[in-house]
């Protein structure tokens, strides 16, 4: 167990029948790092992330999350992580406040902490006027920001974000990344998948998944240097072109 690392995976694999979605991936994520997890659609990003969150059992290989074993301590891991899925997954028929209270509550926040967190969160998001409204009535960008805030309400060591800014306008995306930076500054490790290469530039390090394998892993600067290209966009093209899996 290495206290410097939030995530360590070794030969982690997930197969569905004869199809290997995630093929022996090994990588480490440092504590407090913003780690970008890139790859084309169907490269295996979501499957890998679901294994790390304890939503899906690996076929083989090992991993530790926040120092806990992915097989034995699934429930302990769950106290240490936050997760925001691709699909919006707060309760649309509850109000903003009720969602915050509910998730804070089941993460075991005390009544006092709940009150404090709720007010702080609504304040940071500028949702004062909306706090009593059903989440269903919020615009997508606000929903996403709320979902992120709820995912870190219990101050986890790591938060997993699966395409958090999909379908969101550029301004909101910028605000969303402000939230991410803020969380990272508080010491939360960020593990994020994205299709926006400008967002990849914001990450400390990124990995590129191609056909279930990790094809490259380094800081955006070094990757650009390595492939002798101008932008992360070009790095992505360069690597993803080698993919054999059809879309």
């Amino acid at each position: 167990m290495n206290s410097e690392h939030a995530i360590i995976t070794d030969q982690l694999t997930k197969s569905f029948g004869s199809f290997t979605a995630v093929d022996h991936i090994s990588f480490e994520v440092k504590r407090g790092e913003i780690f970008g997890f890139l790859g084309a659609n169907g490269a295996g990003k979501t499957t890998a992330m679901r294994m790390l969150c304890g939503l899906s059992k690996p076929t083989s290989g090992s991993a530790t999350i926040a120092g806990f074993d992915i097989y034995k301590d699934t429930e302990k891991i769950k106290t240490k992580i936050g997760y925001m899925s691709q699909k919006f997954s707060l309760y649309e028929d509850l109000t903003v406040k009720e969602n915050i209270r509910f998730f804070g509550g089941i993460y075991g926040l005390s009544n006092k902490a709940l009150k404090l967190q709720t007010n702080k969160l609504i304040d940071t998001l500028g949702l004062e006027s909306q706090s009593g409204k059903l989440v269903a009535s919020l615009p997508l960008g606000w929903k996403q920001k709320l979902a992120f805030s709820v995912a870190v309400i219990h101050e986890p060591s790591i938060v997993f974000l699966d395409e958090p800014t999909g379908g969101v306008d550029p301004i909101t995306r910028r605000q969303f990344w402000d939230l991410i930076y803020e969380a990272a500054q508080r010491g939360i490790t960020i593990f994020v998948t994205t299709h926006y290469m400008d967002e990849a530039e914001y990450c400390d390090r990124v990995s590129m998944m191609v056909d279930g394998k990790i094809a490259a892993l380094d800081s955006p600067e070094k990757l650009k240097l390595k492939y002798n290209v101008e932008s992360m966009d070009d790095v992505f093209y360069h690597l993803a072109r080698a993919a054999k899996r059809g879309e």
Partner: protein, 373 residues
């Protein structure tokens, strides 16, 4: 415990905000209890009858009067052509033909015996069977009257006859509503268990919120309890409205047995049925799937529960199904406790069986519910 509180607050809020569920919960018991018992009446009235009278005598007239004034039959055609009557049956306008032969009166007086002919349209088996037996008993009655007349006028020797008189215990007037209402209440509660609970959980799978729950350290059994308790409350609520409002005010059904016993059994039944609903939800990914599975089992539960047809008259193999059906036991208990005033010692067996069902369904469901796929 605190987690459970948060779960329950959330569930109840969601249920009370659900615009389609709420009217169901309040209106379903009232509407179903008002409509179903009236329709599910085994007494058949308005049987369409065609009478072919070849005799046109005083006796045949008397017989026809006896039939048409009984209240069960409606005369659709009267004539002397059997063929015409048969046409009525073929057009489905008529259910029964009563054919009175020519020289009916004459032969009856001369020989002391005569035959009439009944033809039954058996497409609707229940109607046909009951119609024929009503007609038979009317004719028999008519027969008795003729005999009494004959004996009185000294034309015939008194016959020794055994008359069977039956006494209907616990429901002296053979009122079908008293028999059906408690059982229909059971159906209402069954729907809550089998549908509402499983659909609720599967809905969370469909919209994806269950993922968000599954990444939290929430305990599996707490989450399940959080889902079951609200529907347990709703089930008891629906039962209470149905029992104390509709059954008592509309049908004047006052339970003879102990209410605690009834509610205790209702509780056991709901736990078993909610376990079953939960089990369906663990095997379904979409509400459509859950609905189809639940619907299939509802059909079996309803038709093989002794609700409409006595279990004793089912074939052997079907009895096994009926006795593997939790609904069967609750209907029996309802009828026993409400109509007969049965006590705890009369239904201990039913209690053990229901506890068995509850343990069986819930264990299976909890084992099959996975936070990790």
């Amino acid at each position: 415990m605190r987690t459970l509180k948060f779960l329950l607050v959330k569930e109840f809020k969601q249920i009370f905000r659900n615009k389609s569920l709420l009217p169901m919960i309040f209106m379903m018991p009232i509407i179903q209890l008002l409509v179903l018992p009236l329709a599910a009446d085994f007494e058949i009235k308005n049987i369409n009858i065609s009478i072919v009278d070849h005799d046109r005598s005083e006796y045949s007239n008397d017989l026809i009067n006896a039939v048409t004034s009984s209240g069960y039959f409606q005369l659709v055609s009267f004539g002397d052509s059997y063929q015409a009557a048969m046409n009525e049956i073929e057009l489905d306008a008529s259910d029964l033909i009563l054919e009175i032969p020519s020289h009916f009166e004459q032969n009856l007086i001369k020989d002391g015996a005569q035959q009439v002919f009944i033809a039954v349209n058996a497409i609707n088996g229940t109607k046909a069977g009951l119609g024929a037996s009503y007609l038979n008993s009317i004719i028999q009655n008519f027969n008795q009257n003729i005999m009494v007349d004959a004996i009185a006028s000294g034309n015939a020797a008194p016959l020794k006859n055994i008359e069977v008189v039956s006494l209907n215990w616990f429901n002296p007037n053979m009122n079908y509503k008293i028999f059906m209402v408690p059982a229909i209440l059971v159906l209402l509660v069954t729907m809550v268990g089998a549908y509402m609970c499983s659909l609720n959980i599967v809905k969370e799978k469909e919209v994806g919120t269950i993922e968000q729950i599954n990444v939290t350290p929430i305990k599996k059994h707490l989450y399940i309890l959080g889902k079951m308790i609200p529907f347990l409350v709703i089930g008891i609520f629906i039962f209470t409205i149905g029992f104390f409002v509709v059954a008592r005010l509309v049908y004047q059904i006052v339970p003879l047995g102990n209410l605690f016993l009834l509610y205790g059994y209702l509780f056991l039944f709901l736990v078993a049925l909610l376990g079953f609903g939960l089990l369906i939800s663990t095997y379904s990914q979409t509400q459509q799937q859950a609905m189809s599975i639940a619907f299939f089992f509802m059909m079996v539960f309803i038709l093989m529960s002794g609700l409409f047809t006595p279990i004793e008259s089912m074939p052997e193999w079907a009895k096994y199904i009926a006795y593997s059906n939790p609904v069967t036991y609750f209907i029996e208990v309802m009828r026993m406790v409400v109509l007969k005033g049965s006590m705890l010692k009369n239904i201990t067996n039913h209690i053990y069986v229901m506890i068995g069902f509850a343990i069986f369904f819930n264990t299976w469901a909890v084992m099959n519910y996975r936070k990790t796929s």
